[in-house]
Symmetry: C3
Subunit: 318 residues, 3 copies
């Protein structure tokens, strides 16, 4: 069992305010620590596709002077995550070896692995990243696991703080329709980080889309989207599949698409989404292209938050 | 609409002579500007395979001290390029978001996207790279689009200038047979750059393989390959599919394969091809392995021309 | 024919003792030569998957200050390796062009290409790496070819020297069962390097698994695994498919799995395996997780041996 300073969830952050200040500092002076990570290697392992996470995390490491190697794992042999298995089937390498070996070369290991969305109990054990943390001798960064996406949530928090004109903004997390079953990771982590920052979130979604109680604690649900949007300062939009009917799409209710009209009920709310977003399904063009949107700004903050995380891990001050 | 200094076609080059000098300078002193691009990121997006372009453009950026991230897009989700679309089908992210987001991390974005070769009108609108230029807030470099390959053509021009012993060489663009339907991009761009450099090209191909008039202006066609090769100083070889019967292979005439004998009709012409080339189909072994060939030298010049393009974009002097 | 300082087999090493000292030096001071390779490019070409080799060789180059580009070739067009071929079928580029072109950008080219395991004579000609060496104008490093894996064997040798408490340890190469047909490359190279280092190896495997005589010379076979393990100081474990019944799995004898009990017959032998390993098929959990195992240490030495190879190639002292 390693005692590394992993970045798996907000619980790994000892002083959230300081980490936030660190990210803001990175934004002001992105190349200030350009020699800090010299000779240190970040290895990124992607079991699933990525655009923003892949680019922003690599750029963050490069800005710190780190070496970077990014690997797409889909074309590699399959890894075994179960203990004691007789590996005579599809898996060719055990995570025990993989994590130890990569630890031998890397100074930080970052890993993305999505859920299967078939079996809740299995997905919520988050075995890939947890096993990696267990056997790695170096810090592990969660690039979106089966149930959490902390780098996204840290950028969410930074962006809300940056654009909030009031001390206690009303923050709404709104489910929106999507034709395919998506993970709950972004919504889960968002709630976890907001709570850690002392913010209570109004969650709105159709009945049956309740998130796991481990994540909704300290927040509250208002099923009626219109009601939820009243006086909202921030509307964070995300689709997720059902937790109860695990991994299923049980509603595609088009009236819950986020439009300019829907936002007009709010307090000129700022619009946030982690991307990628399906236009005119999840959010309408008129909302996407309006002054409400902070979506590009949020994506850009992925860089500075990742840079703060890597910097503080290397420094031992996460 | 961005006002970036993109490198989409030769029309984006304000002073071709100066850019050529810049490339020659890079060849003489490849590491002279090794600190120039420090902290600047080049992101390369490949929707199609690449060997020379991928290696030479990355190496060019590294020689300038830039950070580099290259992404193969085939395993990513599909992007939407049409405006106003209800994205409930295969596409998961709109180019509007993708281009803006990548602009948030990168200083230059380079992109390769081949044509479908099914619908001329659609291919010739060159939507992928054009939409990218429209929505990117940073300069975009064309790594071969549906209809143009300007980095190749710049290297073509540099190589012809380098090896020409006369002021006005006779330059021939010769179609050659190939079993598969190929784009017209390399031929189109070649003609465009030669005209910009003040050179008129003799084009030779079977009837039915006429290139689009936007590119042939200022040049002339001689259908008879033997006639075209007379007194030629340079023979630039390339297959392309028909423009009229769009995307079709309407001839595989083996007598148009480039051989040493065919070149013997010329003025000891130098042989050029962008590669990859199918030996003994497009060009025979005896021509490939003869002193006529400048094919390796041309490939090497891809590095210095790319380096000049990136340098002048960063400097704002393209 | 190039006269480069390639690293294809142990025969390319002029002074093995010095190269070993160089690797030990790299381990003591990994960043000592961090400016040595500035401006020099290593290109890695992978025709097959890789974890340790891909990470360790890239990290080695980065530690020397080199530029690095790694390419997965499986999604590229197919290359032709035969001379004089009419390339009107699947292959789109000849190795003659590919090797020359990459040589134009790279200072060192590293290449991985596994055997087909259908035709011994063809595999043992090792055409991919041999053709690459033939046409490249820059040094070529073998990242595991059809029949050799010299970077692995150099790390094997370094690890045995590092952990040997006696001058002439008893070294056993033990075949172990595996459900799929695997190459002989690791075993072949291991024998070649041990012989070059002056060590004679006891090889144990079921009848019918005899390795090619080019590699077994100077070593000897003891079919009985128990007998072979007596007094062993090192047990190097590896599966390979039959050479005689070429590429076939002719035994999966489970009694030859390496267990703690099997190792108890030895002289507290150290356990080595190149990885990936199928637990409880090739080696049991109790052996993998015992103090016998040097498997992580061996993997880590892949970095320093690769770094020594790259450094000495660049310096011209391989």
């Amino acid at each position: 069992m390693s005692t590394n300073q992993n970045f798996y969830s907000v619980k790994d952050v000892s002083h959230l305010d300081q980490l936030l200040l660190s990210a803001q500092g990175m934004k002001a002076h992105p190349l200030k620590y350009k020699e800090f990570g010299k000779g240190k290697l970040l290895v990124l392992l992607f079991f699933n596709p990525s655009l923003r996470t892949k680019l922003s995390t690599q750029k963050a490491a490069l800005n710190l002077g780190m070496q970077v190697i990014s690997m797409d794992m889909k074309d590699s042999w399959a890894w075994e995550f179960e203990d004691g298995k007789i590996m005579d089937q599809n898996t060719a390498e055990h995570v025990k070896e993989a994590a130890r070996v990569i630890s031998g070369y890397a100074d930080i290991i970052a890993i993305r692995s999505f859920p299967g969305l078939k079996d809740k109990e299995s997905d919520y054990r988050d075995v890939v990243v947890n096993n990696f943390m267990k056997y790695s001798t170096k810090p592990v960064v969660n690039l979106e696991s089966a149930i959490r996406h902390p780098l996204q949530s840290f950028a969410d928090l930074m962006t809300i703080k940056e654009y909030s004109s009031v001390k206690k903004p009303k923050i709404v997390l709104s489910w929106a329709p999507h034709p395919k079953a998506l993970p709950q990771a972004v919504a889960n982590s968002f709630l976890e980080w907001m709570r850690a920052a002392g913010d209570s979130v109004t969650i709105t979604h159709p009945e049956g889309y309740e998130l796991d109680e481990r994540f909704t604690e300290g927040h509250h649900v208002v099923y009626d989207q219109k009601e939820a949007f009243k006086n909202a300062d921030f509307v964070y939009v995300k689709n997720w599949s059902s937790v109860k009917k695990y991994g299923q799409v049980i509603s595609e209710d088009p009236t819950r698409m986020i439009t300019r009209e829907a936002l007009s009920l709010s307090n000129e709310a700022k619009l946030l989404h982690c991307l990628p977003v399906r236009r005119n399904v999840v959010i309408s063009d008129d909302a996407m292209d309006s002054d409400h949107s902070l979506i590009s700004e949020l994506a850009k903050n992925r860089l500075y938050t990742a840079q703060a995380v890597l910097y503080n891990i290397l420094k031992g001050t996460l």
